[in-house]
C-alpha cells in the first residue's frame, strides 16, 4: 500500500471495508484484467474518449528552443483534458463491482465534468460535490455536469471550495459506502487510489513511448508535465520511470512566490514537491504544505487545477529517490506560456499545462538560466485545453500588462 514511506490508508474505519473491497477489485480487474475489464476500458477510451491522442512536433517551439519539442495532446481527449482516463476507469470499475451510484468532488469542475460524462456514458447515477463559491465561478462546468445528468450538491460549509467539497464527499461516502463508489480525481487518497488512478492514466506515457519511437526511433531525453495532485504527471511518467536515461520534470505552480505565511496559514503557491514536508492528508502520507503544527495551509495558483496543498504519494517518493525532478514556475510565467503556445502553435492550453510549457522557456528561452539538462528530444504533456480558462486568463493578463498577450479591445469598442 506504500511507496517507500509514502501512501498508506489513513481513513475512517467506516470506509476501510470499502477500501479493502476496492483494493480487491483493483487487483482483480485492473491488474489481472479479470472479465476483460482492461480490454473494455481501453476500448471505451478509444471509442468514447478518442485515444490515442497525438504526439505532435511543435515547430515554433522547437525553433525557439533549438530542440525537438513534442507535445502530447491530452487536450484532445473527450472533455478537454486527461481527466477522462481516470473517471472512465473508475466508473467502469464501479460497474464491475456492482456499485449503483457514483460520488465525486470537484474544485474547478474538470474532474466533475469528466466523471459526469463517464457516468452518463455508462448509465450510472452520479452526484458531484462542489463548493458554493466554485459553482458561481465555474458556470460552464456546472452547465456541463448538469447536462450530463449529474446531480450537483453545493457545499456551503467553510469557504465553499475544493477542500470542503472533498470533506463533504467523504462524508457522503461514509453514509453510502455499501452501494456507492467515490471517484477520487487524482493520484491522491488512500491506497489503492494512487496506484489505480496512475494505472488508468499510464496510457499517456505508453502512447508517448510508442509515438516518439515511431517519430525519432528512440526514447525522448526528457518528459515535462505539470503537477498539482499529479495525475497527468504520473500518467506521463509511469511507463518511462524504468528508463533511467529519460529525465522526468514535474512542474509545480510557483504561484506568487515560494514563501509560506505561517501566521496566516497561507502559501502563495502550490509547490508541495518543491517545498512541502511529510504529513498525512486526505488518506495518504505524502509531501504537504503545512504549518509547524501540522495544519494544512491554503495554497494558491492562477490555475485552479494545480491549487492543492498535497500531491500524490508516489511523486513524493520518486522525488526523494531522485528519479523525478521537481521544478516550478510562477503565475506570470505560466500566463506567458499560455499565450506563447496559443499564438505560435495554434493550441490554447489549460493554465495547468501552461506551467509545463513555461518551464521550457525558463530553461531554454532567450532569457533562460538553463539549470537543468533537458536534452534534445523533449516531450511536454499538454494535459488539457484552455477553453475553461479564457475569462481567468484575460483578467489575470490585464492585471499584469503582459507583452505577449493580445489586446481584447475589439470586445469593448
Amino acid at each position: 500500500t506504500k511507496f517507500g514511506e509514502y501512501g498508506g490508508q489513513y481513513v475512517p474505519e467506516v470506509l476501510m471495508p470499502a477500501i479493502e473491497e476496492l483494493t480487491d477489485a483493483y487487483e482483480r480487474y485492473v491488474l489481472d484484467n479479470e472479465d476483460g475489464f482492461m480490454d473494455e476500458f481501453r476500448e471505451r477510451l478509444a471509442d468514447f474518449g478518442g485515444r490515442p491522442t497525438p504526439i505532435q512536433r511543435a515547430d515554433r517551439l522547437s525553433e525557439r528552443y533549438d530542440a525537438e519539442v513534442y507535445l502530447k495532446r491530452e487536450d484532445l481527449l473527450h472533455g478537454g483534458a486527461h481527466k477522462l482516463n481516470n473517471a472512465l476507469g473508475q466508473v467502469l470499475l464501479a460497474k464491475y463491482m456492482g456499485k449503483e451510484r457514483i460520488v465525486a468532488e470537484t474544485g474547478a469542475g474538470q474532474h466533475g465534468t469528466a466523471t459526469a460524462m463517464a457516468a452518463a456514458h455508462l448509465d450510472m447515477p452520479c452526484e458531484i460535490y462542489m463548493g458554493k463559491r466554485d459553482i458561481r465561478r465555474q458556470r460552464p462546468n456546472v452547465f456541463r455536469m448538469r447536462l450530463n445528468g449529474a446531480e450537483l450538491n453545493p457545499v456551503t460549509v467553510g469557504r465553499g471550495t475544493l477542500k470542503e467539497a472533498i470533506n463533504e464527499t467523504m462524508r457522503d461516502w461514509a453514509t453510502s459506502v455499501e452501494d456507492t463508489h467515490y471517484v477520487i480525481g487524482s493520484i491522491v487518497g488512500p491506497h489503492p487510489f494512487p496506484r489505480m488512478v496512475r494505472d488508468f492514466h499510464s496510457v499517456i506515457g505508453e502512447e508517448i513511448r510508442a509515438g516518439i519511437e515511431e517519430k525519432t526511433g528512440d526514447l525522448p531525453d526528457s518528459l515535462v508535465a505539470c503537477a498539482g495532485g499529479g495525475s497527468n504527471t504520473m500518467g506521463t511518467f509511469h511507463d518511462l520511470v524504468p528508463d533511467e536515461e529519460v529525465s522526468l520534470f514535474a512542474v509545480e505552480a510557483g504561484g506568487d512566490g515560494l514563501i509560506v505565511d505561517d501566521e496566516e496559514g497561507v502559501a502563495p503557491h502550490s509547490a508541495s514537491l518543491s517545498t512541502g514536508s511529510e504529513g498525512v492528508l486526505h488518506g495518504a502520507r505524502t509531501k504537504l504544505l503545512q504549518d509547524a503544527d501540522g495544519q494544512i495551509v491554503e495554497s494558491h495558483s492562477v490555475s485552479s487545477g494545480l491549487d492543492y496543498a498535497g500531491v500524490g504519494p508516489e511523486l513524493s517518493y520518486l522525488v526523494d529517490e531522485g528519479r523525478v525532478t521537481p521544478v516550478n514556475v510562477d503565475d506570470t510565467a505560466a500566463l506567458e506560456g499560455f499565450h506563447r503556445l496559443s499564438r505560435t502553435e495554434g493550441i490554447i492550453p489549460a493554465l495547468e499545462s501552461a506551467h509545463a510549457l513555461a518551464f521550457l522557456e525558463a530553461e531554454l528561452g532567450p532569457d533562460a538560466d538553463g539549470e537543468h539538462d533537458l536534452g534534445e528530444v523533449i516531450v511536454v504533456n499538454v494535459s488539457g485545453r484552455g477553453d475553461k480558462d479564457l475569462e481567468a486568463v484575460i483578467e489575470e493578463t490585464e492585471k499584469r500588462d503582459l507583452d505577449a498577450a493580445p489586446s481584447m479591445e475589439v470586445l469593448y469598442e
Binding site: G8, Q9, Y10, V11, P12, E13, V14, L15, M16, P17, A18, E20, V157, G158, K163, E164, I166, N167, E168, M170, R171, A174, T175, S176, V177, E178, G265, E278, G279, V280, L281, H282, G283, L288, Q290, A292, D293, G294, Q295, I296
Partner: protein, 279 residues
C-alpha cells in the same frame, strides 16, 4: 483526576461521554464548558483538538473546528488547557493523525514511532487519558499503539457498521480504554430509532472485554435510554453540545442541563434493561 478511561466507562452505571471542540469559541470558554459537562454527569470528556481537514466530522463539528482554529488554538495551547483543568473526569483527545505526526522536531530517518512519541508524551504529561484518531484505522496504528503503551495512554478505536469480522479480529488485538461504536452509517443528526442498529452492533462485540460506548446521532435522553437498553456501557454525544456552543447563549447552563438529561436517559435505560450477570 482519574485517568482510567476504561474504569470510567465500565462503572456500575452507564457512562455519558460528551464531545466538544477545544478552543470553540476560545480556550477560556472551553474550561467553563468542560466543567459544566462534568457537573452535568459526564463520565469521560472527548475534547477535540482542531485539525484543518476534519474528514471524519460532520458539518457541525467542522464549523466548530474552524472557529477554534480562527481563535488560535494549537496543539500546545490545547495541552496547556488540559493541564489547567480541575475536574475529576478523564479527558480523551480526539484529533487527526497529521497533528501527532508533526508534533516535535522530527529528524529524517526517524521511524513513525519516534515521530509520534513527543505528542503522546506531552499528552500524557498534560493529563490526557486516551486518544481517538478517526483517520487512523487499525491497519496503520502499530506505531501509535506502541507509543501510547509507553506512556499509558489509551488508544480508542471506532467500530463501524461496515466493519468486517476480519477487521474486528484485528481491532480486538489493538483495543484499549473503550470501543467507540458507530451505530450507523453517516455522521450527525438526530436519529429516529437507534436501538435496533445499536443492538446489532453490540451483538458482534459481545465477547470483547472492553466496554462499549455508542454514538452518532444522540441528542435526547430517550436516545440514551434506547442505547443503554440495547446493551451499551456508555453513550457518546457531540453535535448536540456543539450546536449549543455555536448558538452562544447561556452555554454552560445549557450544556450542564443537556448532559444531565442524557445521563438520566442512560440511567433510565440501565433500570429498564436486564443487567447482565456479573456486571
Amino acid at each position: 483526576m482519574s485517568n482510567d478511561v476504561r474504569v470510567a466507562v465500565s462503572g456500575d452505571e452507564p457512562a455519558l461521554v460528551p464531545y466538544i471542540t477545544a478552543g470553540d469559541p476560545s480556550l477560556a470558554a472551553t474550561t467553563e464548558y468542560v466543567e459544566a459537562l462534568a457537573a452535568g454527569g459526564a463520565d469521560v470528556i472527548e475534547l477535540g483538538m482542531p485539525f484543518s481537514e476534519p474528514i471524519a466530522d460532520g458539518p457541525t463539528i467542522q464549523n466548530a473546528i474552524q472557529r477554534s482554529l480562527e481563535a488560535g488554538t494549537t496543539p500546545e495551547r490545547y495541552f496547556e488547557l488540559v493541564e489547567s483543568l480541575d475536574i475529576d473526569v478523564p479527558i480523551v483527545c480526539m484529533t487527526y493523525y497529521n497533528l501527532l505526526y508533526q508534533y516535535g522536531e522530527g529528524e529524517p530517518g526517524d521511524s513513525d514511532y519516534e515521530r509520534l512519541l513527543p505528542f503522546v508524551e506531552r499528552a500524557a504529561e498534560a493529563g490526557v487519558s486516551g486518544l481517538i484518531i478517526p483517520d487512523l484505522p487499525v491497519d496503520e496504528s502499530d506505531p501509535l499503539r506502541q507509543a501510547c503503551d509507553e506512556y499509558g495512554v489509551d488508544l480508542i478505536f471506532i467500530v463501524a457498521p461496515t466493519t468486517t469480522d476480519e477487521r474486528l479480529a484485528k481491532m480486538r488485538e489493538q483495543v484499549s480504554g473503550f470501543v467507540y461504536v458507530q451505530a450507523r452509517l453517516g455522521t450527525t443528526g438526530a436519529q429516529a430509532d437507534v436501538s435496533d442498529a445499536t443492538h446489532e452492533s453490540l451483538t458482534r462485540l459481545a465477547e470483547w472485554e472492553v466496554p462499549k460506548a455508542v454514538g452518532f446521532g444522540v441528542s435526547e435522553g430517550q436516545h440514551a435510554t434506547e442505547i443503554v437498553e440495547a446493551g451499551a456501557a456508555g453513550v457518546v454525544a457531540g453535535s448536540v453540545f456543539v450546536d449549543m456552543i455555536a448558538a452562544g447563549e447561556d452555554v454552560p447552563n445549557k450544556l450542564e442541563a443537556k448532559a444531565r438529561e442524557l445521563k438520566q436517559g442512560a440511567l433510565d435505560g440501565a433500570v429498564s434493561s436486564t443487567p447482565e450477570p456479573g456486571k
